[in-house]
Symmetry: C2
Amino acid sequence: MRRDRYPDALGLLLELVVLLNEDMTRSLARDGLTVSRAGLLWRLRESGPSSQQALANTLGVSARTVTGLVDSLVATGFVTREPHPGDRRATLVTFTPHGTEVMESMRSQQVEFTELLFGDMSDARFDGLVDGLADVLGRIRAHLPPPSPA
Amino acid sequence: MRRDRYPDALGLLLELVVLLNEDMTRSLARDGLTVSRAGLLWRLRESGPSSQQALANTLGVSARTVTGLVDSLVATGFVTREPHPGDRRATLVTFTPHGTEVMESMRSQQVEFTELLFGDMSDARFDGLVDGLADVLGRIRAHLPPPSPA
DNA sequence: TATTGTTATACTCTATAACTATA
DNA sequence: TATAGTTATAGAGTATAACAATA
């Protein structure tokens, strides 16, 4: 009965979640970042200089939370708050040179990590994993409530 | 070139981490629990009535953290602190009837969730996923520092 | 009147250090 | 002297509500 392997499969998934989280946390700490702060920087790199309101929306957190994250990122030299041309209420969160540098190093770390995870894996194994992951992901997405993070 | 699919694969993994976390958090909240508190209860069910020290060790957190988690679990009626027979310094964290009940309902929720994730999946797909997950997990474990949570 | 961001306040998880009660 | 657990304190992430400045 295939269902006998279900607990294993769920256990593998959960352990993966835990270990990936630990690894990410540890790795980001070496750059002086936390997962939440890195998440903001990630979005910032995709969107370019952004208002905090925009960041709050895309990150799916409150304005208050963004204020705190940006406060700490300013204090640690990753970003600055620039005046928003055309709306004096708003600020434009912008990378410092140091912030840009760290983001670039993060990208190469990501490449290394990917190599570690999949580099030495047979094509069949890799394809089976990717197809299975995509499948599971589709099921979870379908199960989850309205994709709130508009 | 297979490396072209690497970013996809890592992206799938990370999205999976995020979504599984959200789903777990939401589901536990319905039972009046958080992920950390549920983690403690989970260990408690495996080990039976335990001292806080023992819980701190197996969970890999500080004694102070366990004090806080147990405080809240006592306040919300999931466990009690019983005297430790044979060591008057220690307490035995013990399920209440309500705690036991919720743990049982969590188990059936887990079965449902597993059914949702894998139920409608072909055998080949399922096997490919499980094999791939086990493979990746092995790589991460090998990469991580000393398994600190003794 | 509506929006941007901040201050005020609060809750959760986490930790280290100091301290109490027991071994 | 060493251990179990608590209090004191602190930092991070999260949130809501009230408020200021600006649209």
